[in-house]
């Protein structure tokens, strides 16, 4: 049983925000950096704490650590209600780990105007912890936006090529997605008759009186479209590679690794239990869109990339396809697989963006054709990169393996044809992943790289870069070898509710 004298979830959310505020109020740089360690470290420690104690914590309405705070809008059914269930716990932990790694990487990066950079990143971290700890779906949305705004600003100020265009495109696409999902959430609020954004209350009301089938279809469609844009479903994915290509590494790590999971998490936590008929109605279009668009089309587009960072961006779009497939499959197994995959992909894509930036700092280019032979000069970097690539492909021993495997097993029941196509996607990701690793690290050095290496002597990863990478890799392997650490809680939450409901409607 947890014995903290304070609410761990509330502190995990507001510690980074408080540090950001302190930095904004003009703290000197030395203290800012020291305090930033606290701002990123505290959420990680608290996340690990709740992970450890989750099994023994008291559960109310299926949530552990449940607390609620009034924000003056009780008569509208809005209040800050925090708690964790088996679905949100893994993602809360993910946010803690990736946030800490991204924070460490940002602190050592020595970016221009580091104070403001850290401040924005801390706001993002606070928002992320809030997204997954919120039981109230209004605050779930609210914290997502809180984390999203710093992304736009960081792309606009610290971004690479085309940062103005990328920032603008990112803003407009993601605002559209967010607005559509907001309307979907409002629709749930009004149509359910609960007049509350509290997920527990919504569940109770809808369990007593399910929504009409057409209403469910419409709301699910709206949510799937809105959340889909946020998760980069094909063909509304174009913001993702562009935005990640331009984003500074820590922002890309947090966005691609954690924030993007918001849409999937919303579908699993909100849409599936509340709108089972909507899922049945949309599951086939969704599955075909995901397998043909995200997995196959984007898979081939990824193979064609000549730019390392773009390639990582596209590969993350592709992997989101598997997540949609798991959701479309709808069974406990599929949804559980999606949650595992979300955690695994979050860790591995964050690691990938981190290493890509480290590669860039040594080669001064993202162009695959101009690289080669980095392994001799930076063996640790190349070992980590190869490990991250294996994780991305989904080799056993990494968390991704369990996620993809369970999704495929669940998908076979749903549609064998789609499963075969989806498995073909694994081959595609093996092709581009291994080819990129080979191009960058092995083989002879290209003349261009030799020239750059002569101008800027290449060194291996420093410890300040190694540490965040090792944290991410360790988490990936820990879950890879011991998936039960997450799946026990997950099963407990998933097995009674969605399975029963989805099964009943089928």
């Amino acid at each position: 049983m947890s014995t903290l004298p304070f609410d761990p979830l509330l502190v995990a959310i507001f510690a980074p925000l408080a540090v950001a505020l302190a930095i904004a109020c003009g703290l000197p740089k030395r203290f800012s950096v020291k305090l930033a360690y606290v701002g990123f470290g505290l959420p990680l420690l608290l996340a690990l704490h709740v992970w450890f104690y989750y099994g023994t914590a008291a559960q109310t309405h299926g949530y552990a650590f449940l607390t609620s705070y009034s924000t003056g809008l009780d008569n509208l059914g809005i209040g800050l209600k925090l708690g964790l269930n088996g679905i949100s716990l893994p993602l809360f932990v993910l946010a803690g780990i990736v946030g800490f790694a991204a924070g460490l990487y940002a602190i050592q990066s020595g970016a221009e105007r580091l104070k403001i950079y850290l401040m924005l990143l801390l706001v993002m971290q606070g928002g992320l912890m809030g997204v997954f700890a919120s039981v109230d779906i209004f605050f779930f949305y609210f914290f997502h936006e809180l984390a999203l705004i710093p992304t736009f600003i960081m792309v606009g100020i610290w971004g690479g090529r085309d940062r103005n265009y990328a920032a603008m495109k990112l803003t407009i696409y993601l605002t559209l997605g967010a607005m559509l999902s907001l309307i979907g959430l409002i629709a749930l609020y009004v149509k359910s008759g609960a007049h509350s954004f509290d997920l527990i209350e919504l569940r109770r009301v809808i369990a007593a009186q399910p929504l009409e089938a057409t209403v469910q279809h419409n709301i699910f469609g709206l949510l799937a479209l809105g959340f889909g844009i946020l998760v980069s479903i094909w063909p509304l994915h174009t913001w993702a590679p562009l935005g990640y290509g331009a984003a500074p590494s820590s922002a890309a790590m947090l966005h691609a690794g954690v924030l993007k999971k918001f849409g999937l998490y919303g579908l699993i936590q909100i849409a599936l239990p509340l709108l089972p008929a909507g899922l049945i109605h949309w599951s086939h279009p969704l599955a075909w869109l995901a397998v043909v668009g995200n997995v196959l089309v984007i898979g081939f587009v990824t193979i064609a990339q000549r730019d390392l960072k773009q390639m990582v961006g596209y590969s993350s779009v592709m992997h989101m396809g598997y997540a949609f497939l798991g959701i479309a499959a709808g069974s406990t197994l599929g949804v559980g697989g999606v949650v595992l995959l979300m955690v695994a992909h979050g860790l591995s894509v964050a690691l990938m963006f981190l290493l890509t930036t480290s590669v860039y700092q040594r080669t001064h280019t993202f162009a695959l054709d101009e690289m080669g032979g980095l392994a001799q000069k930076a063996p640790v970097l190349s070992a980590l990169f190869v490990a991250a690539t294996f994780a991305g492909i989904g080799l056993p021993g990494f968390a991704n393996f369990w996620g993809e495997l369970t999704i495929f097993v669940a998908l076979w029941k749903f549609s064998p044809l789609i499963t075969i196509l989806a498995v073909a996607g694994v081959v595609i990701s093996a092709v581009y992943g291994l080819r990129a690793a080979a191009r960058v690290f092995f083989g002879p050095a290209t003349p261009e790289f030799a020239k750059i290496a002569a101008e800027h002597p290449v060194s291996d990863l420093r410890w300040s870069e190694r540490l965040p990478a090792l944290i991410l890799l360790a988490a990936l392997m820990f879950i890879g070898f011991w998936p039960k650490s997450l799946s026990t809680a997950l099963d407990a939450t998933l097995s009674p509710a969605p399975a029963a409901q989805v099964g009943a409607v089928k």
Binding site: N75, F142, E145, I149, I157, M179, I183, V190
Partner: protein, 502 residues
Amino acid sequence: MDISVLQTLASRNLWGAITPEILLGGLALVLLVIELLFPKEHGRIVPVATLVGLVTILGGVLFNAPSAYLNQETFNGLLLHTHGGQIMRIFFLLAAIMVCVIARVSLAKQSLPRVEFYHIVLVVTAAMMLLAQSNHLVLFFVALETVTIGLYILVSYYRTSLTLEAGLKYLVMGALSSSLMLFGIVLLYGVAGNPALPAHTAQSMHYGQLAAFLAANPHNFLASIGIVLVLAGVAFKIGAFPFQIWVPDVYQGAPTPVTAFLAVSSKAVGFTALLALAGTVFASYAWLVAPVLTFFAATTLLFGNFAALTQHNVKRLIGLSGVSHAGFLLLGVAAVSRAPMAVGAIYFYLFAYLLASFAVFGVMAHVAGANDADQELDHYAGLAKDRPFLALVLALGLGSLAGIPPLVGFMGKLFIFIAAFQAGLYGLLAIAVIGVVVSIYYYFGWIKAAFFETWGKSVDAPTHPERTPVDFVTGFALSALALAVVVLGFYQGPLGAWLSAR
């Protein structure tokens, strides 16, 4: 005539009910006296006296917050003191305080007599407060004209060629809309008092009586023309499409504090009138009012947002963005009949709009040079570097106007959307979503001009006018606004409960 009748009538004139308005009028007169008594120093004394007086009156209104006259008719039914009226009183007082704060900055750049400016602002504010509580078409018309005529003078206050041109345009458009509204009122008066019709009334301009008459005659031809004319007149005041043509020119030409006054207070006046009229008096003509409001809301949302996209002058930009905000508010008004929470949502939106707008206008007043009409986006280059405080306030204000969480503007939009969804206005909601996405583009462009463009590369020769330093009072006011924009986004606290109470 029996003298006792007059006595009864006079006994219903409860002057205590309008103490704040009387005090405002008195303060306005005191300012003129100050000018006479201190001919040399009045330039410094007058703004301070105005602000102190306004803050005192605001304090008094807040202190007596549940007014003793609540839900009571005074002055023989000319006034009805509702909860909404109390909310709007506080709104207009807050707005007047901010207008005066901004005016201190802007007027310092001109060589002009200052007393009249503050005098008129006070008188107009008093009229707005009366209008928010009016319960009779005569008082409504007279109060509205006091507001409008005061604003004609304020718009052309600088007496330069540009402000006079703006003033003339505003005058012609304002007088036209007043005449339309007046003719509508006359028709309603004539029809509702007609002895040949059922439920005709002697008090045919009293809101309650008029509503009762309209409920008894739900398809009268002349009455429906009257209603459309009155709505058109109000639509002019709030800048709803197709009556928005004056907005960009007048907003550009008017002095910055007056632009703020127009954008916030004058628009709020229109919405209080619309809530009182469309929401309650004309309720039985929903077959007519609902489509008209839907048309206004849809076209205003689309026009405001798309027209703002191409603007480079920030005053025109904020004017057209104000048109789009009118569209969001109209969406709320359209929802009132079927979703009662829309009223609270509209009040919340108005307060959110007040806070964010004055934050932006406050920054504009500091960035503007002596030529007040010439305020381009380019003038904001490097603001984040030179004046981080102003840039931060600007970003928060614009972010809130754009409706970005966690700022208060988002909450306003959320409440309006919930109300609109409850009322089943799905088509309008879709247009509103498009509007939000488009609006992000131009607000973002402004923030970009202040932040992104020059970070990294330095500007050699400043192409922008001299930026005014921030003094204590303005600094305090702007910080308070910025803080409120953030805090109210996180925690609505008693404000949310107060605004959504009946």
